[in-house]
Amino acid sequence: MVLFIIGGGCVAAMLVLVFLDMPAFGGKHHPYRDHAIPAAVQHGTANVVSAVNFDQRGIDTFGEETIMLGSVVGVAVLLRPGEHEHEEEGPATGRVLDSTRLAAYLVLAVTMIVGLDVVLHGAITPGGGFQGGVVLATGAHLLYVGGRYPALRRVTPEPVYEAGEAFGAAAFAGLGLAGIAVGGAFLANLLPNGTFGQLFSAGSVPLLSIAVGIEVACGTVVLLAQFLRQELAIRPNESG
């Protein structure tokens, strides 16, 4: 505790000095933005954040979705059944209110559609592969909220979704390598730019967004499945 007071106090003082030297909040000086926007418009991408993410700084996104892949595989490794444990069927349908179940089914349909929309329109509306992928994955888990864990497990077989996640990541990498082969640089924007603000615009940005969407959706499903399985299905072996 003493250490924290000393260290924290000094760091706080340092941070205050640093912040006071920074440009004021809400200022106009943003040189990177002033270059990023014309570049996005040049490639026909209406959502400049997606342009930065998938087009201009695509390799950052590549690294980030690889982190997602690595973490999901890591969780699968960490939560695997141990030597003295085994996996059971899992509990039967849970007891929830009928109204909850109905609401879950209704919202599930809406959520899936919204998720798909967010993924596909990554280049023109706020959103993109990451956001849409998470929406899709958590939408599927509304089955669990509605008390139907066995149905959820049937709908999300782990090997399939792991393969899906790997496919998404490999697709992103493949598009990157295609950029080298065709466009002369890694993750170069390959396809025609299309009309600004339409679905088929921004070159490869929608494709990259879809690849990421697949990867994140499948990955999040696997992630949540690991935690649920650890809690609901893995039991220690009977001793003796």
Binding site: F4, F19, G26, Y32, A36, V41, E64, M68, L79
Partner: protein, 115 residues
């Protein structure tokens, strides 16, 4: 007022570390770490803000000459969020296994790594 947002970010960072230092529960420590991370989000986004500017998504309703906030920090924050969420998941998975092996998640009671 001109630096308030930055101080909020700094506060979040320090409160997060305080949480880790004084936590009695590893899950709490991991969540405190994500509080630290929220501090970095606030810092990034406040660096990119411009008064009177709108979100950087153009289209038929928003001509490309409108002043918008900095999209680069938003992209960075998005990356940061994904990274943070996945790393938090990983650390929580480790915490689950600790609970199973040690029977406790209180850092004060975990004594197998001294010296």
């Amino acid at each position: 007022m001109t630096y308030y947002a930055y101080f909020v970010a700094g506060w979040l960072l320090l409160v997060g570390v305080y949480g880790i230092v004084r936590s009695r529960d590893l899950v709490h420590a991991v969540v405190s770490l994500s509080v630290c991370q929220s501090g970095t989000y606030v810092l990034l986004l406040s660096v990119g803000y411009q008064k009177g500017a709108v979100a950087p998504v153009f289209g038929s309703t928003l001509p490309t000459s409108t002043p918008v906030v900095d999209p680069v920090v938003q992209a960075m924050t998005l990356t940061d969020i994904v990274v943070g969420a996945t790393v938090t998941a990983l650390l929580l998975a480790i915490a689950v296994q600790i609970a199973k092996r040690h029977g406790t998640v209180d850092p004060d009671e975990l004594v197998s790594l001294e010296g």
